[in-house]
Amino acid sequence: MAERGLGNRLKQARTRLNLTQAELALLAGVSRKTINTVENGVFIPSTVLALALARSLKMSVEDLFYLVEE
C-alpha cells in the first residue's frame, strides 16, 4: 500500500498575506515553532489546528493541505 504524506501551502498563503510566522502564530493561537514545523513538514497538525490555520489564512483546509502519495 502506498504511503501517504501531508503537503501544505502554508508558506505561500502566509507570504501572500504578508504575514510573518510569529504573526500567523498569534492569529492561530499557537507558537511560532508550531507554524515553522508545519510549514517544513516536520509536524503533521491535528484537524483542529488545520482548521484554525485555514481560518486564520482565510482559506479552506483542502486548499491549504493536500495528500502526497509516496
Binding site: T20, S31, N36, T37, N40, L49
Partner: protein, 260 residues
Amino acid sequence: MANREPRGDKAGTSSSASLSSGAATSDDETIARLRDKERRAKWGVYAVALAPIAGSAVAVICGRGKMTPASWWAVGVAGSVLLAGLAWLLWQRPSAAAYGPRIVARRIDEIQSGRSRQLWVFPLEVLCLAPQIVVATQYLLNRGGPKLLGLPRGIATTSYLLMIAIGLLTMVVVTLMMLMGVGYPRTIRPAMDDELSRAQRTKAIESGFLTSCVGGTAAFAAGLIEPRWAVLALPFVVTGSIAAAAVHFAMLDRRASLSG
C-alpha cells in the same frame, strides 16, 4: 525565514488603532517587568542546581566516602544555599495573573525555550549526582546488607537516605514536572501543553522508555553476576531514562526552532 516581532495585538480586530497601540505599550511594559523578574530569579536556579552538586562533592571528597565534620559542614552550607535559592525563586516568581493571555501569546516561544534550557540542565545535574547516590547506597548496603529495615539507626544512616532521596526523587520529579508542563503558573500551562509539545513529549517518552528497558535489562544481568550491582546500577537506569527523555525533548524543541 521571517522572524520579526509581531506588530501589536493582531487578534483584537474591533479595537481602535490608539487603543491597540496603548495595549501593546502596556504589554511591552509588563513583558519587560516579567523578564526583569525572571533574570533575577535565575540566581535562585543557579543556587538550587549547583548547591547539591558542590555540597555532596565536597562532602564525599573531604570524608573520602565517610561523613566527617568537614563533610557535615559542606552538607550544611549546601543545604542552606539550596533553601535560600528556593526561597529567592519563590520570592521572584511572578504570579499567574501577571501572565495574561496576550502576554502568553506573545511570549510563548520564549517560555518554551526556557523550558528546553532547563531540560538540558537538570538531567546533567542528575547525572552529576548519580555517583554520590551510589556512594550513599554502597554505605547503606555495607551497613545493613540487602535489608533496608535492618539498618542501624542514627544520623549517618538518615543523612545517606536523605542524600539518595534528594538526589534521585527530587531531580526526577522536577524533570518530569518540566517535561509534563506541570508546576508552572496556571495561565502558562496551556502554552506548555500545546499540540507540538504533546507530539514532542510522546517521542521523548519513547526514548526514555527504550533507555529504561535496556538499562533495566542490563541491571538485571549485572544482578545475576553480583546482586548488589543491580541495586547500584538502578540509580543510573532511573536517572538515565529521565535524562534521555528530557534531552530528546530539548533536542526536538531546538530542531523545531531552527528548521526554517
